[in-house]
């Protein structure tokens, strides 16, 4: 069923990781993603991995959800692994059969690439698992605030993002409803070739667009009726602040950065 698709993968919780300021999580995730590209020693990878595992344990999200987060990239990881394994040449040959040649350097490089990919996705997964999309947009808005000085529409973009996120489940539900109604009238969304399938989507897409425009119009009216007039002077109902736990997080990531910077 279409409704079962959960967008974003926020896993509600009360852990210190969840309670952390979303700005901290956003910045630290970016830092981690950048430094993963600079790591070139096993100890470095170990440090980053340990940090992420620690985060996962503290967040109490559960291994299954973390695994679900990285599952989509596993095929890509496997593909890169195989490609690297066969095409990176080196000196120490460990396996040779006809034209297939596997070298120790190739093997090492392939493993490193996979580890890198997994760590990259894992760090962003940990952020999205513990931060609700709304917190994330708010954090983004506050971090980008300085840009509004040079005329960048920070507030508008953040508002658009949160509205879009808010309406994704609504539209999915709507799609499900219309799909069922048209199926009951005899529409078939599964049979036929590509062109037939695309044509079959018309009875679904037209009502969906009509309702999306109607919703947008209603929302705009409702916002104006409640005196919305842009970001100027608008305050937030819940303002998050930096706490001690944010300091700890910065310190932990900082430590890892130093270790890597020192060349380990």
């Amino acid at each position: 069923m279409i409704k079962d698709i959960t967008l974003g993968q926020y896993f509600p919780g009360e852990s210190p990781i969840h309670k952390m300021d979303a700005r901290t999580k956003l910045i630290l995730t970016l830092v981690l993603i950048v430094i993963i590209f600079f790591v070139h020693t096993y100890i470095g990878y170990l440090c980053v991995a340990a940090l992420l595992v620690l985060t996962a344990v503290i967040s109490k999200v559960g291994a299954r959800f973390v695994y679900n987060g990285i599952k989509p990239i596993l095929p890509i990881a496997l593909f890169t692994f195989v490609i690297n394994l066969f095409f990176i040449s080196g000196e120490t040959v460990i396996f040779e059969w006809r034209f297939i040649k596997i070298t120790l350097e190739g093997l090492r490089q392939s493993v490193i690439t996979v580890v890198r990919l997994v760590l990259l996705v894992l760090s962003s997964t940990m952020m999205t698992l513990t931060t609700s999309p709304m917190e994330l947009t708010t954090a983004l808005e506050r971090l980008l605030k300085p840009l509004s000085k040079i005329g960048f529409p920070v507030h508008e973009i953040a508002l658009m993002m949160s509205i879009a996120l808010r309406f994704i489940p609504t539209l999915l539900e709507e799609t499900d409803k219309i799909m069922k109604a048209q199926t009951a009238r005899g529409a078939d969304f599964e049979e036929g070739g590509l062109i037939k399938k695309a044509k079959a989507l018309v009875p679904l897409l037209v009502p969906l667009f009509v309702s999306a425009f109607r919703r947008a119009y209603d929302l705009a009216l409702a916002m104006e009726a409640r005196c919305y007039n842009g970001g100027e002077g608008r305050t937030k109902m819940r303002v998050s602040h930096f706490h001690k736990r944010d300091l700890f997080a910065f310190a932990a990531v900082g430590l890892v950065v130093i270790v890597i910077a020192l060349g380990y």
Binding site: M1, D4, I178, K180, A181, T183, A184, R185, G186, V202
Partner: protein
Amino acid sequence: MPITTEGLRFEYAPGTPFSHVALEDISVTIDDGSFTSLIGHTGSGKSTFIQLIAGLIKPTAGKIYLDGEDINQKGYDKKKLRRKIGVLFQYPEYQLFEETVEKDIAFGPTKAGFTEDEVAVKVRKAMELVGLDYETFREKSPFELSGGEKRKVAIAGVLATDPQILILDEPIAGLDPIGRQDFMEMVRDLNRGGKTVIMISHNMDDLAEYSTRVIALYQGKVYLDGTPNEVFSRYGHLKRAGLDLPETGKVIQKLRDRGIDIDREIITKDALIRELKKLLGGKDD
């Protein structure tokens, strides 16, 4: 063609932390030509039930038979099912998509495999049935019509296939009183003409007036099942399931509270008026 369900069970998102049993162990038979009403509090499983018997979702366990054939068995012709069962959802006007009213109404019968001539006849008939003038409306875009007219087009779109079984999921929500009465009378006429009607509604008065059978669902199970008189006279049960009484029931309850002995099985307005006249007449003498 009766619909029979056996041990029907439906679970949303099974095997995940969000799983939720919507229906459990539903075994009912809905007879041909009956007017069956489904009542129940929000989340009682009414909508899930009709989607199951319309073959729009598959049960987690249990069987659904239409004419003795399991509709979820391999090789069952879903097209046949769609021709036999018409489903009208809440706010059906949101399913309109074609350029003209005529084309939109023709969508169902065309998909059901009728010839062009047959479709044209059916569209015309369906429009007459819902009270839309064929010549005035056929070339109009469904999006330029008023809310009430859109609703009529959508209803015609479902009726055009001429289904033997009509499933109605709160079809009168958002209609004005006159529109509601027109609609209910149309449904009653279709039912009298031999069609099986299965209807979900929160309007107990309509249901008391028109149904031949009422099934109350509560927490995914059949809670009450019987004639409208039987079901709507069980005030205590209805209250426990979070259900409203028909207006007549409310009046009768107040009268009984004051010690006036009046039959609880009176559920229609006309019957109540007759009874009250009799009671009052008796006192006057």
